[in-house]
């Protein structure tokens, strides 16, 4: 049976075929759909969102030690959060199989960096598979579990955006029989006190030698021979781009990427006149081959920034003298206005950013939809580093500057649960004067509205104990904690003004559901009374996609505003800042 599946959907299907007992993650583009698909279509696998990737990884370790195959998925930067358990789990090894999916994001389509997590696998000393399409995404997950159990090691399945989010045809398989395992007490293996860890580090070194032998033998590393004097070494989507441009070259297709099959590659290189490594981001394969004295080139022709595509690979082949011509576009690109992503019409974050912009305070930001508050014309966010960073960043700025206007950290509900709580604890412990705004929209919104500890539901739809943000904040020791309606512009402005003046840490929580959630906020749209509108453009500057320029202008030729009734949610923010009160509820509007 064949299905059209994305790489992520294929991994979800693979979880069923591999007999995974526990699948656990924190949402993160481009990995999110793996667990969503399991929860929607493959309910024989228990799946859960954890508050962050470190906890998710630790739950996965527990599941493996408990005797069930464990799948843990995350975006590339999620593995930074989970690096602590990863580095030591590599020492202990597994009981039942353990695979971590690292979905990297070359080009940073939806990320703050484009780190290459193949390096993480080598750093930790764990093997990784690198699928080149959806079929391999599924099949390599199954192979990953076999390798994990056979060699007693966690295994990484390293995907990228173009593998995770490309749909391709997949031949489905049947679920495999997985031997039953139980939790077995084995402190020498699992309790990493120094004396045990020293032994386990030796085990890890020995294991890597065994894995290198496996890499030399496995079919996942294969030669495709076309009798060409040119050899290409590639894995993942880079292999596909290269095949697209030059299907007749010889290929060393890497599917099992660490440890590398150095001897097989050495023979392949010797048998060809020239061999190039085509890989995205870092020269991960190239450097290891060069260190082993194997004569290859790669980054010289392809660069190490951004994602590869057929055009870039063709240019590299051309520069290396391997192909005679490249396709040049026949039509020149047009220079047009930019269309950056924006906060949705009615987005409850907008009110907070309108107020912050007005006050001109230093605003440290975090990861989520609200990062969009930095874009023109809102221009209301000054930093964005990583999940949870806003609070620590604000504390540091405030310790140095003691800004009279105050320093405000802006963080979403899901991000606060992920890694904002410890930052807030620091602010309390070290008596920082920061103000923390927790923008609670009841969802992990940026990745598509997933549940989290504050929503009252689990990934699989079961009711859950809802962690109340204010109760938690007060329990941590915050004395100034209040909530405000972000649709009430004046109240939001006043709350921030007052709390930034209050000594000690303050928390302002805004509670309004994400507008993309199934329930609409207010049903009636607003309209612009063109008689009253004086084309001042104040409403344009709040960056609402429902507000556009009308064809009517004022005496100086400036356009008046018009509101798209189908997308307006009736949040009222524009009506509150309109100086001429030209923006009114549709039902209250009386045409002249």
């Amino acid at each position: 049976m064949k299905e059209l599946l994305s790489g992520n959907e294929a991994v979800a299907r693979g979880a069923v075929e591999a007999g995974v007992k526990v699948a656990v993650a924190y949402p993160g583009t481009p990995s999110t759909e793996i667990l969503e698909t399991i929860a929607e279509r493959h309910r024989s696998v228990y799946a859960q969102w954890s508050p962050n990737e470190k906890v998710a990884f630790e739950v996965g370790i527990g599941a493996s030690l408990g005797g069930g195959r464990a799948l843990v998925t995350m975006k590339h930067v999620g593995l930074n959060v989970a690096a602590d358990p990863l580095m030591t789990f590599a020492y202990t090894g597994v009981n039942a199989g353990f695979v971590v999916v690292s979905a990297d994001d070359p080009e940073m389509h939806s990320s703050q960096n484009e780190q290459d997590n193949r390096i993480f696998a080598r750093f930790a000393g764990i093997p990784f598979f690198e699928p080149a399409d959806s079929q391999e995404s599924k099949d390599m997950l199954l192979a990953g579990f076999e390798v994990s159990e056979r060699f007693d090691t966690p295994v990484m399945l390293r995907m990228t955006t173009r593998i995770s989010h490309t749909k391709a045809i997949v031949e489905l398989g049947e679920p495999v029989n997985v031997p039953e395992r139980k939790f077995v007490k084995d402190p020498a293996k699992y309790v990493m006190i120094p004396s045990n860890a020293r032994v386990r580090h030796q085990v890890l070194s020995q294991r890597l030698l065994e894995l290198r032998k496996f890499s030399e033998e496995t079919e996942w590393n294969r030669i495709e021979s076309n009798g060409s004097p040119v050899g290409i070494i590639a894995g993942g989507v880079a292999y596909q781009h290269a095949k697209e441009i030059a299907p007749d070259f010889d290929y060393f297709k890497i599917g099992f990427g660490f440890p590398l099959p150095l001897e097989r590659i050495r023979k392949f290189v010797v048998a060809h006149n020239i061999v190039l490594v085509v890989e995205e981001l870092e020269p991960f394969y190239e450097e290891q081959l060069k260190i082993a004295g194997i004569h290859v080139e790669g980054k010289k022709y392809f660069g190490n920034l951004g994602e590869l595509n057929p055009t870039r690979v063709a240019q590299g082949f051309y520069d290396a003298g391997l192909i005679k011509s490249v396709v040049r576009p026949e039509i020149e690109a047009e220079s047009l206005f930019p269309r950056p992503p924006v906060l949705c019409p009615g987005c409850p974050h907008r009110g907070a950013f309108m107020a912050l912009r007005k006050l001109g305070v230093a605003v440290t930001g975090d990861i989520g939809c609200y990062t969009l508050g930095m874009l023109k014309p809102l221009n209301a966010l000054d930093t964005c580093i990583c999940m949870g960073a806003s609070i620590g960043n604000a504390i540091g700025i405030e310790k140095v500057n003691g800004s009279a206007k105050g320093t405000v950290a802006v963080i979403g509900d899901s991000t606060f649960f992920h890694s904002g709580i410890t930052g807030l604890l620091d602010a309390i412990y070290n008596q920082s004067n920061v103000t923390v705004m927790i923008l609670d929209n009841g969802a992990t919104a940026m990745t598509g509205g997933q549940e989290h500890p504050g929503t009252g539901h689990t990934l699989m739809g079961a009711p859950a104990t809802r962690t109340d943000i204010e109760t938690l904040v007060k329990a941590l020791g915050v004395k100034n904690c209040r909530s405000v309606d972000p649709y009430d512009y004046e109240a939001t402005l006043k709350a921030i003004e007052e709390e930034t003046r209050n000594p000690g840490p303050s928390v302002i929580v805004t509670h309004r559901p994400c507008v993309l959630m199934p329930k609409r906020i207010m049903d009636e749209p607003f309209v612009v009374d063109l008689e009253l509108c004086n084309a001042c453009s104040a409403c344009f500057r709040i960056s609402c996609p429902a507000i556009a320029a009308s064809s009517e202008t004022n005496e100086r030729g400036h356009p008046k505003a018009v509101i798209d009734e189908t997308t307006c949610t009736g949040c009222m923010l524009c009506a509150q800042i309109c100086p001429t009160e030209a923006i009114v509820l549709k039902s209250k509007f009386v045409a002249a």
Binding site: T29, P30, H165, K167, P247, T311, E332, P341, K376, T447
Partner: protein, 200 residues
């Protein structure tokens, strides 16, 4: 067509239905026994930003991405986005452009940027085969603004070598039951438009 591959580029603005359109086209390709890959980026691009989907259909498809300048069919849900993608087209490619325009806040709130006066006319200067569709108007006539998607697919479907019944089957399987009939009508309207265009 390059190397017997149909390269279809679908562009629009987050929320317009680009992803469903590429899903339907890819599904039809699979049902007809062809290899297919479709690639797009989720995440930030959903929030009112540009959405681009590459669909590649052929006997064997390697890269999920079209090479710049190799697009056979461009399907644009928004006319300025059609113009933005023009460099991806082959000169003899076919562009199917919905005459809808969405002017972003960054244009209305600053004097630095302008929205093109007539994007379709600009596209026609560069391409011989352009089908501009009043898709919003037709969808409104049919009673559901969401039908823009199916109307454009209807236009495209006449140019692809698939059995017309496959489009019907796929729509039946991917669309909610109560919306099937109206979507099939929209598909037919789209097919009529392309037929008229071929003959004039």
């Amino acid at each position: 067509m390059t190397n017997n591959i149909h390269n279809i580029l679908i562009v629009g603005v987050g929320g317009q239905g680009v992803l469903l359109a590429s899903e339907i086209i890819s599904d039809v390709a699979m049902r007809s026994g062809m290899d297919v890959k479709k690639s797009e980026v989720h995440g930030m691009s959903q929030r009112g930003g540009v959405v681009t989907s590459h669909v590649r259909i052929g006997k064997k498809v390697y890269s999920p991405l079209i090479q710049e300048g190799e697009t056979d069919f461009l399907m644009a849900f928004e006319q300025a986005e059609g113009l933005r993608a023009i460099n991806w087209m082959r000169k003899d490619g076919i562009a199917i452009i919905s005459r809808s325009s969405l002017v972003p806040a960054i244009v209305t709130s600053s004097k630095k940027f302008t929205y093109p006066d007539d994007a379709v006319a600009e596209i026609k200067k560069k391409l011989a085969k352009v089908i501009a569709v009043d898709a919003d108007k037709i969808a409104a006539e049919l009673g559901n603004p969401r039908l823009v998607n199916t109307i454009l697919i209807g236009v495209l479907s006449s140019y692809l070598p698939f059995d017309p019944n496959l489009w019907i089957e796929t729509i039946k399987s991917l669309v909610k039951p109560k919306l099937v009939d109206i979507n099939l009508t929209a598909l037919e309207r789209g097919r009529d438009i392309s037929h008229e265009t071929i003959h004039t």
